[in-house]
């Protein structure tokens, strides 16, 4: 997981644009272009999250950022490229989250729980995460090679649960990969059902329920 996530983070110009965005004085041309690209990506994410891929056009995105369609096409040659960029941008968020969580130097099991707690908040509050989740559901209808969902999270959690097993935090005999798959299934199912039934307004409570059951089952 680390390799692919590291690559996608390094290659994400929108992230870089945001880091430089707070600087004072006139921005060099390249920074301006990156900022524009980032604005386009956010507008596309808002529209994909609200309406889905099919009912969003490049013209809608251009209108939202008050640009011409040509200006959007300059950064993203097709609507599919925009969808791919949104999903890649979502995937680039998780390594950042992992780094921030690791900085807290929690135990492996608490790191896993904290990562998922923060992911639940991101599904509630972050339009790129919401858009990425919707686009992943719509992947049969999007003519682009979106990165596979679930796989990276399962690998990340398998690693953390293996470490937790070594440290005696979870029950002896636990299969870390099976437990990781159960966590990803519970998390994904919870967030999807919360989205369908409550537009994710209850996601934090719903995740607490699922988390307490699953981590309760694991913990020694």
């Amino acid at each position: 997981m680390t390799d692919r996530l590291a690559v996608s983070q390094a290659g994400d110009s929108a992230f870089a644009a945001r880091q430089f965005g707070g600087r004072r004085g006139p921005a060099p041309k390249q920074d301006r272009a990156a900022r524009t690209k980032s604005l386009v990506l956010t507008a596309a994410a808002e529209l994909f999250a609200a309406r889905g891929f099919r009912h969003t056009s490049v013209k809608d995105v251009a209108d939202r950022v008050e640009m011409t369609k040509g200006a959007v096409y300059f950064h993203y040659p097709t609507k599919e490229a925009l969808a791919l960029a949104v999903v890649e941008h979502l995937y680039a968020k998780w390594p950042t989250l992992l780094e921030e969580t690791r900085a807290r130097k929690l135990s492996p099991l608490d790191t896993a729980a904290e990562m998922l707690d923060r992911a639940a908040l991101a599904f509630r509050d972050d339009v790129v995460v919401q858009a990425g989740a919707r686009l992943q559901l719509e992947r049969p209808h999007i003519d682009a090679e979106l990165p596979p969902p679930y796989v990276d999270w399962t690998e990340l959690l398998t690693g953390l649960l293996s470490a937790a097993l070594d440290e005696g935090q979870i029950k002896a005999g636990t299969d870390p990969a099976a437990a990781a798959r159960a966590l990803v299934a519970g998390f994904f199912g919870m967030q999807h059902i919360s989205d369908v039934l409550e537009q994710r307004a209850d996601i934090v409570e719903r995740w607490a329920e699922v988390r307490d059951f699953l981590f309760g089952a694991l913990r020694t």
Copy 2:
């Protein structure tokens, strides 16, 4: 839950058609019509499961059963009506499953586990279940009032877990509704991920993992 499921079961002519389908001798006209309707529904389910709502036309359904479009329209006036019928047909399966499971006179907790085990098999083997699951994901793009997903299963499992709590089968202090929501989230997430990554070929093993964790956490 019981009421709505009972109504939808009673109103399901395709079920009735199938029950009478094995009878010998010439079928009365009404039975023939019901059998035809059932054939159309199954063909629609196969196409919706494989291609989704958008990429299935009434003409495709008619071609599959070697009928005219008019013959299909006689039973289902629109493609939306076909989608609704498939989802309702799926929903009508669960009360039958519950009745069959109850006949085995298992404990409430084992009834819950058995229901979900058999649901996992249905997701693997039954095209109406597969079509219904796909149509529910596509509901933002279908102009019909599909019945809400997840709610009936959550109520069914809440009832079974309440009974299990009364009988001392699950840990004192368990909130049956919260546990039911966690079960539904784990089951739904598991089946969806198995569908996306493995076309549900591994659903039985994946469900066994999730079930063992969740029921392990519940059991006294």
